[in-house]
Symmetry: C2
Subunit: 129 residues, 2 copies
């Protein structure tokens, strides 16, 4: 099953309603949903990858070439490339070669799935705390 075929979890944040409307709060994740979501969190469970994601998202036009990213780290280009590959394989970023450089941008759909899991639960818990 490709990532594109996965159902998007309802991203609606309605903190005015009962807490049970938020996905994490009263709709326990199924085993298969958890198995599909965990690798996304694993991919960003690393300081370098979190910063890469942040730098790409922040770069002019929402995309960055590896030449824009290496200067922010005290790491070798192959190490940066490894981390970019992990993010790409998880589906968090996409890339395209243009001439000498490969350009990267964030895949908003995948980020939305992660946000749909955490965001409503966080909002509901804040509203009921």
């Amino acid at each position: 099953m490709s990532k594109q075929e996965l159902p998007i979890i309802d991203a609606g944040v309605d903190v005015s309603g009962p807490a049970c409307c938020a996905p994490l709060v009263c709709e326990p994740l199924s085993d298969s949903e958890a198995v599909e979501l965990a690798p996304l969190f694993k991919a960003i469970a690393d300081p370098v990858r979190l910063r890469l994601l942040s730098l790409i998202a922040c770069h002019e036009g929402g995309e960055a070439c590896v030449c824009d990213l290496t200067g922010a780290f005290d790491l070798t280009p192959p190490t940066i490339s490894h981390h970019l590959k992990v993010l790409r394989q998880a589906g968090l970023i996409d890339s395209e070669r243009r001439g000498t450089w490969v350009y990267y941008w964030i895949n908003p759909g995948v980020l939305a799935r992660m946000s749909a899991l955490i965001g409503p639960a966080s909002a509901a818990l804040a509203g009921t705390a």
Copy 2:
């Protein structure tokens, strides 16, 4: 530096404004922020822990004892306890012993920090896609 002393990243979601107002989108994470956030994502980068978090949040009253959780998994109680310990050590859940059982509930502040990182970026990217 304790988790309590960390500044909360602005959780404001304003998709009507320029994409640069969302934390992940135009405010690249600092190295120290990334180092502090990565372990939170690592703690939930596991299907069992994602489901535990979901089951706890969904349980009546927002808290659950380990006796409420073991039935959902084909795992031994010590394995469940190990995963609960990882979540607790990351600060995602808190716990308290009452008589025979230990009860667990979600720490909304920590979830809010994760949501503040992903949510606004997701919303801004969706708005600019």
